[in-house]
């Protein structure tokens, strides 16, 4: 237990962050220029941190996989970003945002971190507006808000259905300003494949140049990884094609503990799967639940007819519809948190009431909202989402209810970090979705953008500086040292091993098989038997992968199959750790639902006595079981209760 220290500052909750900042170490301006920082990732977390650290005067190198930092997957976030501004005067406050986030996360997040997040949320909105982010506005010229799942106040700021895009372009513009100034150097089409440590401290990375195929060495005084989430371990998810777990997994293998790997979020409103060649799932923003009503037929025979294409949803009478969320959760209705909404959809579909040709879909219906508010209002709110749906499904959601089904969306789990967002490897920091973060066992809508920007603009620039204060006399590192030499060789060996298999099955085929094992056993509902089976199956699949995978022998130059193979190789290990973590946690909490642990009504049942902790897994070697460390969670400011969305 001694190995992990969350380093929560002393003092009352509301003063901890201020106390920290008042007492942290600073680096004087002249010395900042002597210090190099590597930032892996140009999403909200990485982009914002790189820009802010550059502004402060540090030498920053930023890396991303895409051809431009503006294309990080944060760009895809649709719905909005939370803040405790209380502009609508509906009773919001920093405390309430903190409370909702801890409760939404089913009491598995660290109080002090979440409070800080809520505290800086307001600065984020100020910052973004100053950058020229075109948030939605009221006629009077002030900012508009909408509501999101898991909250009774309207605290979500948005820019049409493209909030992530606009926030990322804001961070990208700040980053571009620093690149222009020369404080930040940009490396695109690069993928971090390993972390270099010297005397136990993070001092550099090995990246593969995705165009030339060459391995490159980069050194720094500290490394920040903000590489996003690992939802693609399920193959089908709402994440981008290159979203991966590699940077996190490699850091884990170099000594960073992995926090709560089994905590992933399944988003209730995605476009259902259509066929075998499907490459990804498309999210329909949760904001749609503000005005859309979710239902399935009340009668099973109607559902069967719909599945066969003999009946259309518009032909089903009002009385024959089951608005099951409104029925089960009168207080929150269609706005229950994501995990609750997802499981409720699965429950109806498993019971045979699902719609669509597969029976694995439910309706999200805007008819009432259109009748009440008019088509114009709905179009202004969700026009681009409706258009996107129509392009994919070929049906007009203004006339026919949308079909939706849950899909993997977000990783609450990630590399374990302390209050300073530093990992168990000194000098290695993790931000954004890549860290195990502030969302506990379930993330509320519009809170990931908040966390990414909080980490990037307002937390890491302080905490990294605190770490770097005693590094000013440390000279720059030689990339020809034995540590860099050896780490690069390790990467080269991994590449050679994959290419040398020269088997008969494609990388994607293995990825799909892994995805199925994960979805069936480590997905929305988990059991002891299923998880034990998954661990065995993943391990067998991994063996087969190294006997049968086919990767073209193109070592110098672009090799997309090799990129995918390296990512899938990591997923094949990460997936097993996720199953192991889910098996260990025999309670249900948030997005982690163990069939063995539920209330008589079928709701998730926590076991606070035994599981009020963060699981932090330590790598002990390939084929050796990882060691579990427990960070106890202490709630001093919140009364821990069973979550209840039935009554307010």
């Amino acid at each position: 237990m001694a190995k992990i220290d969350s380093k929560i500052p002393e003092g009352p909750l509301a003063e901890k962050w201020t106390n920290y900042k008042n007492h942290q170490n600073l680096v004087n301006p002249a010395n900042k220029r002597k210090i190099d920082i590597i930032v892996v990732g140009s999403g909200l977390a990485g982009g914002a941190a790189a820009a802010s650290l550059g502004e402060m005067g540090f030498n920053v190198k930023v890396f991303c996989i895409q051809d431009s930092p503006r294309r990080a997957h944060s760009i895809a976030a649709q719905g909005g970003i939370n803040a405790a501004k209380n502009y609508p005067n509906d009773g919001d406050s920093v405390y309430r945002l903190f409370y909702d986030t801890v409760k939404g996360g089913d009491y598995r997040a660290r109080e002090a971190n979440v409070y800080r997040l809520a505290e800086v949320s307001n600065n984020i909105i100020d910052q973004c507006v100053a950058q020229g982010v075109p948030f939605a506005r009221e006629y009077g010229g002030t900012l508009d808000n909408r509501s999101f799942g898991g909250a009774l106040v309207s605290r979500t700021f948005y820019a049409r259905g493209q909030t992530g895009q606009q926030l990322l372009l804001g961070a990208y513009s700040a980053l571009s300003k620093e690149i222009n100034k020369g404080s930040v150097e940009l490396f695109t089409r690069r993928e971090m494949l390993d972390l270099v440590t010297i005397d136990g401290k993070a001092r550099g990375i090995i990246v593969r140049n995705l165009v030339s195929g060459k391995l490159e060495r980069h050194s720094a005084h500290a490394v920040l990884v903000a590489s996003g989430g690992y939802g693609n371990v399920f193959f089908l998810s709402t994440n981008a094609m290159t979203s991966n777990g590699g940077a996190a997994w490699r850091s884990y293998k170099r000594g960073a503990f992995f926090g709560n790997p089994s905590f992933v979020q399944i988003h209730p409103t995605c476009i259902p799967v259509h066929g075998d060649f499907q490459s990804k799932l498309t999210l329909m923003s949760e904001s749609l639940r503000n005005d859309g009503r979710i239902w399935v037929p009340k009668k099973k025979e109607d559902a069967v007819k719909i599945q066969k294409g003999e009946l259309r949803p518009t032909e089903i009478a009002e009385d024959d519809r089951d608005y099951y969320l409104e029925r089960r959760y009168p207080a929150f209705g269609n706005l229950v948190p994501r995990d609750v909404a997802s499981r409720a959809a699965k429950e109806r579909c498993d019971a045979g009431f699902g719609v669509g040709t597969t029976g694995l879909a439910v309706y999200l219906d805007f008819k009432h909202a259109i009748d009440r508010l008019g088509k114009n209002v709905i179009e202004a709110r969700y026009g681009n989402l409706f258009q996107m749906y129509e392009k994919i499904v070929d049906e007009n959601p203004y006339e026919t209810p949308m079909m939706i089904y849950p899909a993997i969306h977000y990783a609450m789990g990630g590399i374990w970090v302390d209050y300073e967002l530093q990992t168990t490897v000194p000098g290695l920091f993790f931000g954004g979705e890549a860290n195990f973060s502030d969302h506990g066992a379930n993330r509320l809508g519009a809170s990931a953008l908040m966390q990414g920007l909080s980490d990037g603009y307002f937390v890491l620039p302080y905490t990294m500086q605190n770490y770097l204060a005693d590094q000013i006399t440390v000279p720059r590192f030689d990339i020809n040292s034995k540590e860099f030499e050896q780490t690069e060789k390790d990467v080269q060996d991994r590449i050679d091993k994959l290419i040398s298999v020269n088997g008969d099955e494609t990388v994607d085929s293995f990825h799909k098989r892994l995805g199925l094992i994960m979805w069936d056993n480590v997905g929305m509902a988990r059991t002891k038997e299923g998880l034990e089976k998954a661990i065995k199956e993943i391990s067998a699949l991994r063996k087969e992968f190294y006997q049968r995978v086919k990767v073209p022998d193109e070592k110098n130059g672009m090799n997309v199959e090799l990129e995918k193979a390296l990512r899938v190789a990591d997923f094949l290990e990460l997936g097993e750790l996720m199953a192991r973590d889910a098996l260990n946690r025999s309670e249900s909490c948030g997005g982690h639902f163990r069939e063995e642990s539920k209330t008589p009504e079928g709701e998730a049942l926590r076991d606070d006595e035994n599981f009020t902790y963060v699981s932090a897994w330590e790598y002990k070697g390939d084929d050796v079981e990882p060691e579990l460390h427990k960070e106890p969670l202490v709630y001093e400011n919140i009364e821990v209760k069973q979550r209840n969305y039935k009554t307010a």
């Binding site: 294309r71 760009i75 501004k85 100020d126 506005r137 700040a174 392009k391």
Partner: protein
């Protein structure tokens, strides 16, 4: 459905490229265009041939990473969408589909269908930002903005930087891309402070890189997946002119 694909193959920036034909069978009309490309690449890899290189990432029309000139149009035969949102139901059985990269001097080909669009980043670096640092900014509601202006700024800011406008233009002009960013900031009080320097620097950079002139054919607007309006070009010209006279 069965299709005949005619795809541009080019091994590197300086190599000579050529069209090669690939028949492909049993494609579902509900597949996306890029899923069809995945199927092709799976087949090529299985046969030990080199897969076709193309850019893509989010596959939901927002990151701007995908490109492709399909049957003579950037992002293919549908309006207001990106290649990754294009579905096979837009094609018919037996059709020959021609797939090329963006063709414009400032976007050199990297390999096959992949091009280098870092010129766009350079233009943004030249001035596509408001010079505020983190912290020390006023309360968000201290800057009231007319809803109509905020909406227009958002229309312009919706650009995904894919480069279809350049690919569509016979002069390879980047005016739509540059004017969208200039307009977004010109419409907002936060952006007004540096309006003059911004437009001058961005236009100078654009010219410097070698993007062509705008001769008002409006092919850019017609092909833009986000329907960015050419009204932004007019606005930028006004801004540019104003910067020159004062």
């Amino acid at each position: 459905m069965d299709l005949k694909l005619k795809i541009w193959r080019q091994s590197g920036p300086d190599a000579k490229g050529e069209f090669r034909e690939y028949p492909i069978q049993n494609i579902s009309k509900d597949s996306s265009f890029l899923e069809m490309m995945d199927v092709l690449n799976e087949q090529l890899v299985s046969k030990g041939e080199e897969p076709v290189a193309f850019d893509h990432d989010c596959r939901e029309g927002i990151c701007g990473m995908c490109s492709l000139f399909i049957n003579g149009r950037p992002h293919g035969p549908d309006d207001a969408i990106t290649t990754c949102q294009l579905h096979m139901r837009k094609f018919h059985d037996g059709e020959t589909v021609t797939i090329e990269p963006w063709r414009a001097k400032p976007f050199p080909i990297i390999k096959d269908l992949m091009v280098d669009r870092s010129a766009f980043d350079e233009i943004i670096q030249a001035g596509g930002f408001v010079s505020v640092s983190t912290g020390g900014v006023p309360d968000a509601n201290a800057i009231p903005i007319k809803k109509a202006n905020a909406d227009l700024a958002m229309d312009a800011a919706a650009c995904i930087g894919c480069g279809a406008c350049v690919a569509a233009c016979k002069n390879a002009s980047a005016m739509l891309f540059v004017s969208a960013k200039v307009s977004q900031f010109a419409l907002l009080p936060q952006g007004r402070v540096e309006a003059k320097e911004r437009v001058e620097r961005m236009v100078a950079k654009m010219d410097d890189i070698g993007f062509g002139n705008c001769t008002n054919t409006y092919a850019c607007e017609a092909e833009c997946p986000k329907e960015i309006s050419v009204a932004n070009i007019a606005r930028m010209n006004r801004e540019f002119f104003a910067a020159k006279v004062c």
